[in-house]
Amino acid sequence: MDDLVDRDGGADQQMRATWNGFDAIDTGLLIWSHDRVLVYINDGFRRSCDIPVKLGMHYTDYVAAVAHSREWIIPDPDEWEQRTVNDFGIAKESDYQSAIGNFMHVAQRPSRDGGMAITFTDITAVKHNERQLREAKETAEATDEAKSRFLRAANHDLRQPLASLKILIYSCAREEDEEKRAEMLHAMGVATSIMEDLLGALLQIGQLDAGRVQPRITSFQLSELFDRLRIQFAHQAQEKGLRLKFVIPAKTVSTDRALLERILSNFVANAIRFTEVGGVVVGCRKEGRGLRIEVVDTGRGVKEEDRVRIFDEFYRGTDDRQPQKKGLGLGLNIAKRLADLLELQIDVRSEVGRGSIFSVWVPFGNIWHSDISAEANITEAVAGEFAGTPMLLVEDDDFLRESMTQLLLRWGIDVRAAANETEAIELVTNEAVSPRLIIADYNLESRTGLDVITAIRAAIGADTPAIVVTADAEPKVVASIRAAGIPVLIKPVSPPRLRVMMHNLLFEPELLRQTPDASPTSQ
């Protein structure tokens, strides 16, 4: 052992206890004599620093060893070495990060005899806590700012569908044509769902500010998205007397569908807002490995000096004299922020007095991965062979009428139910129901199912296919129905049998006549 300080030999018990104590502490300790020779190294130093030092080494050699050891991250080792050599005997302290990521606080103090002591304290945990505190503070501030932003943006974006809704409600209240009213109610439903989506999107924007939005990139067709935009803006454009046209591309794109819709929705809203004459066209052009979606308007255009700042928050054009009609200047900012998040390029070209083209570029997607609407929940109600088929059900038992209606609805049938002949005739005459099939109970209150079918056929003026269901399996009854050429099902009706019979009547009447299974009685 070549220690200059003899811990075990010359020193007395008290000194040994002192050295042992220094070794026990976590802090590393180096002590230098007045002639810059290292005279003491404690165990704490050896444990915390992997720097090659030994007793008796000169301070200059120690500094060189630290500078070039690569144990600590020192940006300019030569400069650091020179500066540190000159700092011998001066009180100072610094923090260093080690190569493995720990933080070390290094403090040096002069000793009374002209030498120096240096301590090495691991402050990794302290630094970690400091960072966490700082991040928490920043998040809190961002959330606070996000709340304010959210309120401003909500006010701005919800105005669009609200305006549509107001127009629709006003028009709907006065509309007498049932078909047009149904159309308006549908559009109102769409506007409401758009508001719902908007609130969701705005919440996302709040989260965007707080850095919490995770885009969900999928491949999809633009047609549905364009259709939603058309429904959202058609009435507003119509109110202003503007043409609004969507040219639907036959291409698959890959991005976040909801966020892209928000971008385009802001472009279209903006285009309608700043266009008084002419119209707005939304279309696409192929550009590189993607599509540039363009919203083209014949509005007043954007001045060149405004074009740079037009995507800034709350920015409005320099000659915008009607702020109450022109929004808060948030829409384009939202579009830009969303595009940045999705790494999509947005652009504006404009000519004052002629119009503007706002555009966003989206990459092509994989068509095989393209979403199909409602794909997750395909049922017979939307895609079965009977989907949308109008049918008339006559059944006087409330419970059976309801359960049969539910079954037929589940198969996608447009079923209209009547409790008796009067109600059935009412449906086909006054409500213009044109059934492709009639299902009638045999034992109705005052009439037989056969009578009712005959009356309905007369009212329609067509020999509409029909099925009689009966709880009465009496051979004479069944024979009488068969004699009328109408197939019979015995209650309780088996759904698969009903299905087969309906299919044959609607699509393969030949089969009904040929097969012993389908006609005339099935159980």
Partner: protein, 426 residues
Amino acid sequence: MDDHNQAIPIGSMVPLTGPSAADGAEFRNGMILACEELNARGGLLGRPIRPIFADTCRQTAQEVVSAARWLIEKHKVHAIINGYNIGPQNSEYEPIADAGIIYVHANTLLQHHDTVMSDPERYFGCFMADPAEYWYGPGFIKFLSWLRDTGQWVPNSDRIAIISGSTPYSIVIANAMANAAASFGWKVCFGPKIVQTPTSQWRDVIEEVRATNPAVLANTHFYAGDLAHFQRQFGEDPMDCLVYLQYGAVHRSFIDIAQEASVGVIVSSIVGLLRDEMGKRFEARYRDRFGVGSTATIGCQSYSNMHHYAVAAAMAGGSGPPGDFEQNRKVAFALRGMIYRTVHGTIRYHPDWQAVVPYPVVTRDPSLGMPHIFYQIQDFRAPLSMIAPEPYNTERFILPPWMSKSRLSAQPAQTDRRGLTNIEQQ
């Protein structure tokens, strides 16, 4: 009394006579091969498996229900494992549900979803081992769009004509095609027009289609012979359009009748033998067992269903005879939970539908779905060319010989003065 040394009876309802007899023979072959392989390895937990076949003839509801009852009542089968029966409309589910046994079929019908979901407790044992026919519709539209978007084919318009057969299967597929078309930039210019099938007379409807000048003509009827006549009649004066024929055109009998006229036709199947090593080894075994005239791509359906069932029953600790609901529920649980890669892709049952999920139209992960495979007849003397989807395809699409060669290479899309594509010229 169910003796543990006795063979386990497994029923199979197959059309051994009637219009689907060719398929029925292959389904029977598939069952035989699967049972032979399983028995050679010790059977199901030591018990041999005995397949029992019931002829479903023309596959009407009455015939299939009678077959199910005969298998359950006379032979006490523990399960019924099939290929497909088109006609029964799920009426065979009733005796099977009453008996509480397992039923695995490839009926390819959307109504399976409806029936199972209407009463999952009752129909716990009913499984459809292939995707519903519905998926043919959007799958086909995606395929067409893929050809178009990748420049492999430049259509002369966005018009599609759809002819449907009169079975529920054909009608659902035709409607699904029509529903999906607009989303992918296509317009249905004709149909779906339902033609009474079976028929070999297509000239009238072909002439009606001609008046609409489509870029694509799809026929969703599926009988091989009928489709062969369709293709021959189309070939008498072909239109400048792609021709897609439903499933039946994968059959050798289609090509045998249509001959040269078949070249260029596109056909697809949501159950098709893959051409990887696993598929090729199966095909070789199948041919060795049943001769060169056999069709492994049909037989693989019942073969896979039988193997999958046997693995599930072994996991469950054994099969259950009619009435043993408890044991068969365990088998059903194992079937539902197991992702089973077989010679024609993956059988993974949707937890609610108890039907297989198709790839790529529903799942994007080929390891989780059964591939919807598109073939093209490129040489009528050679096997069909498998042209989509990745990663299973082995060949590329070629322009059918009757079509105009002028659009063989992609042309720039039409643009208006602003450069917007696809604007109609007014």
